[in-house]
């Protein structure tokens, strides 16, 4: 029996690869957009003016305080009530982007704040404008603090993307659900799903460890 199931599973393997591609696509796009959003919000988080920092803080707290599943329901099932109807892919991408963006903004803000005040003062005293201060003085120093947890966040993003299967996006997790209805061997089917996630995440985990070591080694 097992052998038959296994053969069947191998037969559906191309579907799994397609699902994996959807997973990579949805998390890849969200990763890029979320990083952009997170960097902007992270910088704004450090602006001590006009309550901007508070607003950004609330955004981050809200995203952290509400489960991702609920976010995606809001975007996919509740927004249509007010006339905003999105397909599963854009809905999933938007949900993942604003979710990851919140966490990334925290990481970026912490990195920026880790740079000593004297660096800001020197850059200011030497005539650099606010953008140049960030670009040439603050960011190159903050990036060492930012990178390891950022890559860690990317791993979480890939894994969290499995939740988007609930709105019908055929990612690798959903391929697993569909397959297990024909091949009732859960361990085998989801074992394969797990392996596929692992293949994507494992190199990233290593990269994160590597960056962590590199940073602590270099800071003397």
């Amino acid at each position: 029996m097992i052998a038959v199931y296994f053969k069947g599973l191998m037969h559906t393997f191309p579907l799994f690869l397609k699902g994996l591609w959807v997973t990579i696509l949805v998390s890849g796009v969200s990763l890029l957009a979320g990083t952009l959003l997170g960097v902007i919000c992270g910088i704004l988080r450090t602006v001590k003016k006009w309550g901007i920092s508070k607003i950004m803080g609330f955004y981050a707290d809200y995203m952290r305080g509400v489960p991702f599943l609920v976010h995606i329901f809001i975007i996919y099932f509740i927004l249509p009530e007010v006339g905003i109807q999105l397909d599963p892919f854009p809905a999933a991408t938007i949900a993942l982007t604003i979710y990851a963006g919140a966490y990334i903004s925290e990481i970026v803000a912490a990195g920026i704040l880790s740079v000593p005040k004297g660096q800001w003062e020197a850059a200011t005293a030497y005539g650099l404008n606010p953008f140049q201060r960030l670009r040439y003085v603050i960011f190159p120093q903050a990036i060492r603090v930012i990178l390891p947890p950022l890559v860690g966040e990317y791993v979480l993003l890939v894994k969290d993307s499995s939740i988007v299967s609930v709105i019908g996006l055929t990612d690798v997790t959903r391929v697993g659900w569909l397959t297990v209805q024909r091949i009732p061997e859960g361990l085998m089917v989801f074992g394969l799903v797990g392996i596929l996630y692992f293949v994507v995440c494992y190199p990233m985990i290593h990269l994160s460890h590597y960056l962590e070591e590199k940073v602590s080694y270099e800071s003397h």
């Binding site: 005293a125 030497y126 120093q141």
Partner: protein, 243 residues
Amino acid sequence: MIIFKNVNKWFGSLHVLKDINLHIHPGEVVVVCGPSGSGKSTLIRCINQLEPIQKGEIYVDGIQVNKRSTNLTKIRSEIGFVFQQFNLYPHLTVLENVVLSPIKVKKVPRKEAEENALRLLERVGIPDKANDYPSQLSGGQCQRVAIARGLAMNPKVMLFDEPTSALDPEMIKEVLDVMVELAQEGMTMIVVTHEMGFARQVADRVFFMDEGQIVESNTPDEFFDHPEHERTKEFLSKIITHN
């Protein structure tokens, strides 16, 4: 060159500068001393608007700096500032530290900026450190790089905030020597320091600050030998026994 008119500054409810009036002429060297917390750093940080002021006017070379319409970037690029803790950029080499603002702010071509930087490093006595990182340098060398970084902007005035206070004693002289030379070449300088030898050698005037006011202002010889105010005398007796 630098004019303060009734300058007042508060940190919250703390009144740190009280009705400061002063006038510093081109080529003048002024030493500012006084007890810790008296407002010396704040005084010079107001000049390039690292600290905003709440009342009064500050002019640098005829331009009012505490006005919304003023191009602060331009003013700042004409003022060299040397910090107690150097504040060199640790991720950049010595040469890159010196050329960053000339290239990015003053739009000097890189080649020209680097040639100028090498000349300045030679002038402060560390021509061979151009490609080192600040973490590879001693404190005295760092502070000399910081001075070169200031000079690279071709500034009209150099401000120093206790430039030797963070240094090991054996490194103080190498930094002061550079500053003395600078003063003798005619640079306009405001120096917060308790180095009395430096003050006597090159200062035109010495200010004594206490509780946010300039209590006494005099030539160095008069200031050190015949202080007028009780508080000045008290302060001087303390730093003399310390030195």
